[in-house]
Amino acid sequence: MNDTKPASHLGIILLGAIVMATAFAAGMWLSSTRHAGEAGGIDGLLWPDPPQLAGFHLVDQHGRPLEAADLRGHWSLMFFGFTHCPDVCPTTLAALARAEDQLRKQPAYGESGRVVFVSVDPERDTPEVIAEYVNYFSPDFIGATASESELRALGRNLGVLFMKVEQADGGYSVDHSAGVFFVSPQLELLSVLTPPYTAADIVRRFTAVSQFLEKQG
């Protein structure tokens, strides 16, 4: 069933991944237990002490620097993937485009909210490739990538895992966290919607999280 194996040249730090996954799962569990009652019906997961988006240095689809500060002041729905991903990435980005049509009508998201697609395959996904790719789904989408070390740092910050795996046909794929990451205008990672999900699920989660944030004042 499974003939894939980790690509040795990428130097995957499995132990680190396991520690991160465990910490991530534990954090999500804690958050769900601490906030389930007080959130009054939020069906999702909120971080107890939301991680702040640390300084990162990405390059956007126009070849311009994209830094954490650029996301301040509006909501960002972040998704990590790669353009050679045949199934999950186009399915998710299409769902995000449909969701965004709905979210534009919500004042919290408004015209300034952005979907941010971060490619975890900088070897193949140049800014030019990413530009064409994200524009297919929505001209409003931001697409970005960075060096592998920069992506790993961002991954540690947000709890995003990715791992290159060789395919039977000689190519490679990248296993990756496939959640939608809800980052507030104050750059706090407030929630992660884990797959599978629909456009309606994304809208529901955003509505719940943004309303919760509003109540917190």
């Binding site: 069933m1 199934d87 999950v88 186009p90 399915t91 797959p195």
Partner: protein, 148 residues
């Protein structure tokens, strides 16, 4: 359909499909479609439902398409929120059973298109089985899943 060559090929395929040969011993395909690969991507996924209308189990051993350099049966699995794509070497379908490929699950991964894939073009898929002739089916290129 924008490509005349594909139109002819489609007709030939329909004639072949209507012939007497037992295609993969009672294997039947329906509700197929291929997600148009976005610009910049050389990988596409096709989805469909395969039925085993026979009285014996069937084993589908692989898929190919003349429209792509490579094709594989794949499955997306979610492990702790992480999407993993894995090769399915074979798919066994019980008598009267079905195999459903759908977004976010099993799918046919098609790599390196040999032609431009415009919306509504028809793409040939060939399924090889352990027994019988291959099943040839044609699926339309679409931007998103057809509504049931």
């Amino acid at each position: 359909m924008k490509n005349p060559a594909m139109t002819v090929a489609t007709l030939v395929a329909i004639l072949l499909a209507a012939g007497p040969a037992a295609a993969c011993d009672h294997l039947r395909a329906e509700r197929g479609w291929l997600r148009q690969p976005p610009p910049g991507s050389d990988s596409a996924a096709a989805y469909l439902v395969l039925h085993n209308d026979g009285s014996e189990a069937l084993t589908v051993r692989g898929v190919s398409s003349p429209a792509f350099a490579r094709a594989m049966m794949h499955e997306t699995r979610y492990v702790e929120g992480r999407a993993e794509m894995r090769h399915l070497h074979a798919v066994e379908i019980a008598p009267g059973g079905r195999f459903e490929a759908r977004p976010g699950g099993a799918h046919l991964m098609l790599v390196e298109p040999r032609q431009t894939l415009a919306l509504d073009d028809m793409v040939e898929l060939r399924f090889e089985c352990a027994q019988g002739d291959p099943l040839v089916t044609w699926v339309p290129v679409r931007r998103s899943a057809p509504t049931p």
